[in-house]
Each structure stands twice: as structure tokens, then as C-alpha cells.
């Protein structure tokens, strides 16, 4: 507990000595909310919001959100940007280990084939074509309205 308290005072997390600060950051209204649709074999929409256990949904959604964050950051791991801004010239000590510590192009390119395998496992369907659509939506008058969408990832046999 002592290590956890020290970690908390420093605001630094070292698993398993967690900082229990979830939902304590002031929330700011985003310009738009993003929703993902997972289309299997051009006809089946995988239900990534209910229908599976919370743990399954975590493994369907969380890696996908990080993949989208990588794509939106020009295929550079956002943690690299964060550490560069914090460490400045001291980042040179981490640079040689970048490919081991963070997601490089080979890991990013391997995401869609892995995602297809994982979804095959949980859905029990052979997937020939997988499409991930990112949709920008907003809430208005008891409805969620789609504003725009684009394909963020695709895998074809």
C-alpha cells in the first residue's frame, strides 16, 4: 500500500500499484462521438456493444480503438509522441528500444489479420471479408444521428 500511496503522490502508475483516478479528469464535450461498425462478409454486422460478455467486448473494442488512434496519428504510436514531449533530448535513451516497446509498422500491419482471427474465434464464422467503418455521430432529440463515415480498416482473403 505504501508503494501505491507513493505512486499516487507522484501521479505515476507502476502496475500493480495503481492510481485509482478513473473518471476524475474533467470531461470536455467532444466535437463528435465516434462509433465503429464491424461488417463481416459484407452482410453480417458484429454486435460490439452488447451480446457478448464485457470481457469479450473489451477485446473486440479496446485494441480496435488503439488501432484507430495509431491510424489517426500517421501510424506512429501516440506513446512515442507523449514521451518525446515529456523527455525532450533524454528520449534518445529510449530510441534504440522503440521497436520493442511500442507499435511499429509491422505490428500495425498485422492488426487486421489478427482481428479477423479473433473475430472468427468469437463469432464462429469463417471470415472472407472484414470491414471496419468509423462513424461520426451526434445526439439530437432522442436519436443518435450519423454525420459521416469512412473505412478505417479492411481485410480480404
Amino acid at each position: 500500500m505504501l508503494i501505491t500511496i507513493i505512486c499516487n503522490l507522484l501521479g505515476y502508475e507502476a502496475t500493480p500499484f495503481f492510481v485509482w483516478g478513473m473518471y476524475s479528469e474533467k470531461e470536455i464535450a467532444p466535437d463528435a462521438y465516434e462509433v465503429q461498425e464491424i461488417i463481416i462478409n459484407d452482410s453480417i454486422r458484429l454486435d460490439n456493444t452488447s451480446g457478448y460478455t464485457p470481457s469479450t467486448r473489451f477485446y473486440i473494442n479496446s485494441p480496435l480503438w488503439y488501432f484507430i488512434a495509431l491510424k489517426n496519428n500517421d501510424n506512429i504510436d501516440p506513446t512515442i509522441n507523449f514521451l518525446r514531449s515529456k523527455l525532450k533530448h533524454n528520449y534518445s535513451f529510449i530510441k534504440p528500444y522503440e521497436h520493442v516497446l511500442f507499435n511499429d509498422s509491422s505490428r500495425i500491419n498485422a492488426f487486421m489479420p489478427w482481428y479477423k482471427n479473433y473475430l472468427e474465434g468469437i463469432a464462429g464464422i469463417k471470415i472472407d471479408h472484414l470491414k471496419i467503418i468509423n462513424i461520426k455521430v451526434h445526439y439530437s432529440d432522442q436519436k443518435i444521428i450519423a454525420d459521416s463515415n469512412f473505412i478505417i480498416g479492411e481485410w480480404k482473403q
Binding site: 500500500m1 501505491t4 500511496i5 499516487n8 505515476y12 502508475e13 507502476a14 502496475t15 500493480p16 495503481f18 492510481v19 485509482w20 483516478g21 478513473m22 473518471y23 476524475s24 479528469e25 474533467k26 470531461e27 464535450a29 462521438y33 462509433v35 465503429q36 461498425e37 454486435d47 456493444t49 452488447s50 460478455t53 464485457p54 470481457s55 469479450t56 473489451f58 477485446y59 479496446s62 485494441p63 480503438w65 488503439y66 488501432f67 495509431l70 506513446t79 507523449f82 514521451l83 528500444y97 520493442v100 516497446l101 511500442f102 507499435n103 505490428r107 500495425i108 492488426f111 489478427w114 482471427n117 479473433y118 474465434g121 468469437i122 455521430v137 445526439y139 432522442q142 443518435i144 450519423a146
Partner: protein
Amino acid sequence: METIGNSNNLFNRERKFLCRLVYSTVFLLLIYDLISSTALYQLHSPVLIYPYVDITYILFNLSHAGDIVTGSLILSYCFSIFLFLSCITIIIYPDKRFFIFSFLILYFFYFLVYNGYGAHHIHSKVGILFISVPFLFIGNNFMFTWEAVRYYTLFLYADFFFWKLFRLSWLNNKQGILIMKQNLIPLLYQHPDNNFSNLYYFFFNHYFYADILYRTGFLLEGIFLIGFFTKRFDKFLVIISLLLAIGFLFMADAFAFELLILDVTLIYSFRTEELINSFVYSSRAKTGKALIK
């Protein structure tokens, strides 16, 4: 004639009972992971990693251990089997601390893989790690570490409270509704006729009530501070922790029920006189003054 000065024999009965109770629950949680397709061999060699700035994950990635085990179907199958077996053997032989040590190592590895490759450092599984620690000990040391885990349980909820308090998020007018929208809009987009849709839309249109919910949760977390001064309200705190888990699920679609395993330290905590007695016994045993009945 029975010698009771040996502190290692103290609380053996309680330890065995609690060990079987805790690991039977852990076994059910492992089954839940299996049903959820998140056992190690079911992850199909995940590729994206997320160490962030956590030294434990950084060292884990540097070791390549995660890639080696998850990358091999045989190794990941063996790992999952050993994890289940270690849990079962603990239930059968709660006195054999080697199995508890083995389980702890294996589960910590699973914990790092689950979060590291899941691209988000989820906290709820950590309850299983912390509740395992007291069973590495026997006698007085078991009881003292059990009590320490009780204090850790109180601390983590109090920590939730303090972070919100010092970051002033409880003063943010739309904090509750923004959390709800961020986490629930995907569900409402795909399932506009969900059972809770009308209720969620009510909160979306009357954000004042969502903020009341958020602030109620914040105050409930603060109530755990009372546990540092008295054990009288421990059962009440168990009910609050359950309400908070339901609140996390309702407001943020976050599954925090695995953390409730730590509640067993609030349900079964040792009385102050037992703590004092055991301390006296162990002191006497150390000085050779064993008590003889």
C-alpha cells in the same frame, strides 16, 4: 496437553476456509474468462501492445515474454491449463503455499498480457492478485496481511474519492452526462430500442440527474474512509461497493465486478482482540514462553 504458543498454527482453520472460498470464486472468474474468449490461447497471438509509461509493462515488453507465450499455440494452451490447475490444486490443498505462489506468478503474467495486448490497463482484475497475497503466509503473518488487504480495499475506494476531490471534477457541471454519452452512444446507436434506451435518453435530456448520480458515487467512495477508524460498518461498505460496481456499469459500461473479490476482507475481518491475542502469542513463542493448556 496442547501447546498453543506456536504462532504458525494460529488461524489455520480460518485460513483454510477463506482460501477455499476465495479460490472457488477465482475459479469461477477463470471460467468467465474462458466463456469470454479471453483465456491466453483464445487470444490468437495478439499484436498491438500498450505499455504506456508503466515501468512494469515496459519491462514486460523488453523481455519479449508476452510475444513468446501468446505467439505459440502450444505454449499458450499449456499456460492456460497450468493456470486452471494451480487454482484447482489450491482449493484441494490450501496448505501448500507453493501452489499459491505458482498461481500468483501465472495470474500476474496473464494480467499483463490481458491488459498489455488489450490496449488498456484495466484495474478490476488486480483484486485477484492482491487477495492472493495473504495466503502466501500462515499464522499471524496470514492474519496481518489479510488485514493489510482490507486496508488496501478501503484505500482504493478512498483513492477514487480523493482523485475526484482534488481534480475538482465533482464541480464540473456536465461531468456525469459526458461520461454517459462517451460510453453509451455506441450502444444506443446500434440498439436504439435497448431496454434502457428511454432511461438513458431521459438522462441525456436532463443532465442534472446524471450529475447527481456522479456526485452520489463520489460521496459513496468517500464513505470508505470510515473503515480506517472502525470495522463496525464493514458490511455496509460491501453493499456500497456493490452499488458502485452497478453504477460503473450503468453510467460507463465498465465492468468492475471482479474487483468485488476484495470485499471478502470486509466480510471476514479479524476482531481487534484477536489481533492483540495473536501478537501476544507470537511474542511469547519468540521468547520461548509457549502457553500450555
